[in-house]
């Protein structure tokens, strides 16, 4: 049977699209589903609408009329204020730098380990898998003090560099597990065939495994970026000076012990969340872009 190779070139999932061989009803069913799903989506997103309306109203309006009332006044000033209060000029830069440093690196080394675990003969595979799993199960808060001590000895507390090590380490278990599961699905025959052709493991990794697993890599990358972006506790403990703080630490500024600047907080959250959403929008086509060559290579 010949493969449907050109699928890879088409942007959105044609995989589920109409096919002359099928006797299924025409896309009429699609509209009904869309409507149902849209209603569900609206309910799903409603709490976030609350976030948006809160960010667009003056604080006095919020306090006077309560969080769930429709704003009497609209304003964009919260965003400007929030930018200052949350120190976003610095925290944005820091969070972005951290994510850019950490996420590609983390995905790469996790993919390498996943490759070794799933496709290469390796002794102690079970032990390593267990050890990786252990990383998932341990509550990370107990590692705070030893890590702090280590970083302090290396002189990298209060710097983004100091965060990279722990962040990488905490991302590894999850990424390795997801990736090795995807890698296992790549048929051994392909790998064998490449070996027979004389390819080294390294080349197999770069030219076969990674491309075939692109959806998985992107998925894992997005998830990693989100947790790096939102990580609070370690950033709080390791970083000190305002110049080095990351976004979640900056968001603490909006909530006092005894009162909260809720409208500023809402604006601040939206500011903080926008890059991730944008990245997700841009990247989601790769997750579902029909890169199904792996299943059908002939």
């Amino acid at each position: 049977m010949s493969s449907i190779a050109p699928v890879a070139a088409l942007p959105d999932a044609v995989v589920g699209g109409p096919d002359p061989l099928q006797h299924r009803p025409r896309p009429r069913g699609g509209v009904a589903m869309t409507v149902v799903l849209t209603i569900v989506a609206v309910i799903w997103i409603a709490p976030l609408v609350l976030l948006v309306t809160t960010s667009l109203r003056p604080l006095s309006d919020f306090i006077a009329r309560g969080p769930l009332s429709w704003p009497a006044d609209f304003t964009l000033s919260n965003f400007g204020e929030a930018w200052g209060i949350g120190n976003f000029a610095a925290t944005y830069r820091n969070s972005a730098l951290l994510a850019l440093m950490k996420v590609p690196l983390g995905v790469l080394i996790s993919a390498m380990l996943a490759f070794a675990l799933s496709k290469l003969r390796m002794r102690f595979r079970k032990t390593i898998m267990f050890a990786v799993f252990m990383g998932l199960t341990i509550p990370i808060y107990i590692t705070l003090v030893p890590i702090f001590i280590m970083l302090r000895s290396a002189g990298i507390t209060d710097s983004l560099l100091g965060l990279v090590g722990p962040y990488l380490a905490f991302g590894i278990p999850f990424e390795v597990l997801v990736l090795q599961s995807f890698f296992r699905q790549v048929p051994n025959e392909i790998v064998e065939a490449a070996r027979i052709d004389g390819a080294s493991n390294w080349r197999i990794f770069w030219t076969i495994m990674l491309p075939l697993s692109a959806p998985a890599l992107v998925t894992v990358g997005i998830l990693d970026a989100v947790s790096t972006w939102n990580e609070l506790l370690f950033a709080l403990i390791i970083l000190n000076s305002d110049a080095h703080k990351t976004i979640p630490v900056g968001l603490l500024n909006f909530q006092g012990q005894f009162s909260s600047n809720n409208t500023g907080l809402a604006a601040g959250i939206l500011i903080a969340v926008v890059p991730i959403l944008v990245a997700y929008i841009l990247l989601q086509r790769y997750i579902v872009g029909g890169l199904t060559a792996g299943a059908t290579k002939g």
């Binding site: 049977m1 709490p47 769930l68 199960t137 341990i138 808060y141 903080a272 059908t296």
Partner: protein, 310 residues
């Protein structure tokens, strides 16, 4: 597992084996080393050092402590809060494991099929997962407010006044109330994973099945579900472990309260280590969390390290 037809003929077995043996040995370790090195230094070593403290009575602040061996573990079994926390963990796990998985699967299937506006919908369902925890706690705090919160207001408008109650302020409903936003934000990940997995299923199988007269339901059960098995495993394993460890969500929404009704092992551990100056005891709780989670994940690890039967 994905079925594949590979028309190319394989090389003679002997040569392939020889090459395989040479490929093994050092090479896999080179791939593994960077990740393992970082992992050991920044996770394994600190974790093991910390776990040692469960055998002591360290308060978490003084320079000195005594070794008390298993006293902490014995005290654990008699602690009523630990019992309550463990029970809460079980309930929490059951709900936040099953519901997001089912929802995520449903959404993935629908979003993989004939629906319009997929990118927007995908974005909407995933967005909660992207929010910082502080926002989730704030928003849902407002929604749950007994007087003006949307939920109670809605109930009163439709005449269900009796159901309007202080969701976060009473023992009977607090945990359930926190589970709702947890599901809301944890559905995105399975959805994403299932979407990626669904993309990898060979549509030719569906075509062949249709030609053979299989109904859509049969196709779902006999083609889709088995193909998704690896994805199921991951989602189950990760959700399971996450549920045991849960801390941030509950801490942010109820702080373990009212009283101790929403305490889970994670929050109780945190309280003991970081706030009660009982680092030794708290670490013992952490050890218990770890051991239970590890035990539960054994079947998964075994399945993943079995010789591949692609």
């Amino acid at each position: 597992m994905v079925a594949v037809t590979v028309p190319r003929s394989a090389a003679p077995p002997a040569a392939a084996t020889r090459r395989r043996r040479r490929g093994g040995g050092l090479s896999p370790w080179l791939f593994a080393l960077p990740a393992l090195a970082v992992y050991v230094v920044f996770l394994v070593y600190p974790a093991v050092t910390s776990l040692w403290f469960s055998l002591t009575n360290w308060d978490g602040l003084s320079p000195s402590y005594d070794v008390v061996w298993f006293d902490n573990y014995v005290a654990l079994t008699k602690d009523p809060v630990v019992l309550q926390a463990a029970r809460n963990n079980l309930v929490w796990t059951a709900v936040t494991l099953v519901v997001p998985l089912v929802l995520g699967l449903l959404l993935a299937i629908v979003l993989n099929g004939k629906v319009r506006g997929k990118p927007v919908l995908r974005l909407i369902f995933y967005t909660p997962a992207v929010l910082p925890l502080v926002s989730i706690a704030s928003i849902w705090g407002w929604l749950y407010n007994p007087q003006y919160g949307a939920i109670n207001v809605f109930l009163r408008t439709v005449g269900l006044d009796g159901l309007a109650q202080p969701w976060l302020g009473q023992d009977s409903t607090a945990l359930a109330a926190v589970m709702v936003p947890a599901i809301w934000l944890r559905t995105g990940f399975p959805m994403l994973l299932y979407l990626a997995a669904l993309q990898g299923i060979n549509t030719e199988m569906y075509e062949a099945a249709t030609v053979d007269g299989a109904t859509r339901w049969q196709q779902f059960w006999y083609i889709t579900m088995p193909s998704l098995r690896p994805a199921h495993y991951i989602v189950l394993a990760l959700s399971l472990i996450d549920s045991f460890k849960v801390f941030d969500m509950i801490y942010a929404m109820t702080y373990g309260g009212p009283g101790t009704s929403t305490q889970v092992m994670g929050t109780w551990m945190y309280a003991n280590v970081f706030q009660y100056y009982q680092a030794g005891y708290g670490t013992a709780i952490a050890v218990v969390i770890t051991v239970v989670a590890l035990a539960v994940s054994i079947p998964y690890v075994i399945s993943q390290t079995k010789e591949q039967s692609s």
